[in-house]
């Protein structure tokens, strides 16, 4: 393995000079030397050792994306297509700027703390909301930049958040159903967590109902884990209900499952039940009928999240405490006009 000292020896200079060249501290080195050293580096295929660099500078060029594993339900967090597409986009953007992405599932705060000490990660993405208060206090006491994704926890707004117009999205979806003559609209979502997107989406749903003088009924709210079996079952259940003509689901994964359940029960979408999903993943175009869904873009979201991370890593002070991405409605065939 060729080291910085090897390069220095070959070039007949000190390793500091080589280090300066590598880091573009061009004031300290003459043009001639720069070129010579650069040539030698290229010739020998020298690449700095990240561990050594991390040790010496306590900066590792690693950004971690933390995923919180709910102890009870040990699901595979990459099973949600939107989420994994988002992660792919983050990796791509980070890579282009010379950073590395580490993916880490943590199960509690100690786990997180240990991880942070283990690796001097330069930055942290946190997706979703965590139940434990101590995680956020741990994080906000850190000097490490943290980018939250989809968090509505106001107390910790010293960390930047990349979010979405969840309220508006839900409003849009509900309003669209109402405009199509629906008044008996169910709301399907995964278990709500304080500070999570679902809460906001529920607000949007409620507001749309209210604005159209439709009374809110709590028996039309369905909280379910978004496993395939669970949502399909929910669909078969809904299929029997006379007091429902439309469903707004806060994730396409759920919407599709519910749709499958309804169809399995011999009912039709959109003839018997209308459905609107959320996220507008590719699969919306592959269901039959194609799913109408609130659109958000995983690639753009990932790119923006990574861009902000880069800015923070470069020491830029960002006033903005959150970036809220726009939503729109992708109208397809899963809603019928009553």
């Amino acid at each position: 393995m060729v080291t910085i000292d090897d390069i220095a020896r070959i070039a007949g200079v000190s390793n500091t000079t080589v280090s300066n060249v590598i880091h573009g501290k061009t004031k300290r080195v003459s043009q001639k030397t720069i070129e010579k050293i650069q040539q030698i580096i290229d010739d020998h295929g020298y690449v700095p050792n990240m561990s050594a660099r991390a040790l010496a500078s306590s900066s590792s060029k690693v950004v971690a994306l933390i995923n919180h594993l709910d102890p009870q339900k040990s699901g595979n967090f990459l099973e949600d297509p939107f989420h994994s597409a988002f992660i792919g986009a983050v990796e791509q953007t980070l890579r282009e700027s010379g950073y590395y992405l580490m993916i880490r599932t943590i199960i509690n705060c100690d786990d997180l703390r240990a991880f942070l000490r283990n690796w001097n990660v330069d930055g942290l993405f946190l997706t979703g909301v965590f139940q434990e208060e101590d995680i956020y206090s741990t994080l906000s006491s850190l000097e490490t930049p943290v980018v939250l994704i989809d968090s509505y926890l106001e107390d910790y707004n010293q960390m930047i958040n990349i979010g979405l117009h969840d309220f508006e999205g839900a409003y849009l979806a509900t309003q669209y159903l109402i405009e199509n003559g629906h008044t008996k609209i169910a709301f399907a979502c995964p278990p709500m967590r304080k500070g999570g997107v679902v809460v906001k989406r529920l607000e949007g749903y409620k507001k749309a109902l209210e604005d159209h003088q439709i009374p809110f009924k709590s028996e039309l709210i369905f909280e379910r884990e978004f496993s395939t079996s669970g949502t399909t079952e929910l669909g078969t259940m809904i299929a029997k209900r006379e007091d429902i003509t439309a469903i707004f689901a806060t994730a396409d994964v759920m919407a599709a499952g519910i749709m499958a359940g309804i169809q399995k029960s011999g009912k039709k979408v959109p003839d018997d039940f209308s459905i609107v999903g959320f996220d507008d993943i590719n699969w919306c175009r592959m269901t039959h009928p194609m799913l109408t869904s609130v659109h958000q873009d995983a690639n753009i979201k990932g790119e923006i999240a990574a861009d902000y991370m880069m800015k923070l890593l470069e020491g830029e002070v960002i006033q903005k405490k959150s970036v809220i991405l726009p939503v729109s409605l992708s109208v397809r065939d899963s809603v019928r006009k009553l």
Copy 2:
């Protein structure tokens, strides 16, 4: 940040002793001291610094999952649900054994080489096949354990491969269609690559035809990128063909897209066209009709891949050069008996 030296000082021993305790080299330390040191470690929340450890021992506890980015088509590799579920499972298993997963997209061999030198990664997963020969020669010259996923490159079989009965899977699917009276069976796949799974699946398809005296027709082979738009388009095209009654697609993503295209054209599945997919991802149960598909399990595959990696990392010599996982057919509603 509390270091090993801090612990040593507090315990009144040398850091070597602490190190020995941490690594369970219990022969060298008395029981009393072990307990005392362990206590101090716990009390102070000491966690070893991975960079320092990696530097000193040239082993980093990091396993990288390498993804090859095709220069022309810059897709997001995490958009395929099967693949991302697989990665999620790998991370989970590695984590439970104290390893860390880094995800890295590489664009060529230099990129890979630089990455490997940068980080002394302990192990490497390679998913899919790479075009460049030099990548494999680079890898096989390494001391680093490499686990290939879904590779049929025989020349480099010093690396273990976690694969699937692709031939059998395709045979099963095709045979099932034939048993249901189909003889005009199209084969839809992403662009074939030497050593990739698609080649094997094509063989299985051909063999099934042959065994049932159905002539193979090359005009029924459709190679397409598996973007949503591309496959939907393929579906609308197929919808017009009189010489096709069934389609076997080598990925559910494609099958679903084709199905959407067919339905968009006003034709019905399975009434007008029967379809069988491959992978049996969750979404197969969410299409309408539900998609019949060749089943493989992403979680099990990920777990097994990670398990073999662990064994290799622990220095175990594995005779087996490949693990071939079984397939089965998940029969649902997308095939009609003619």
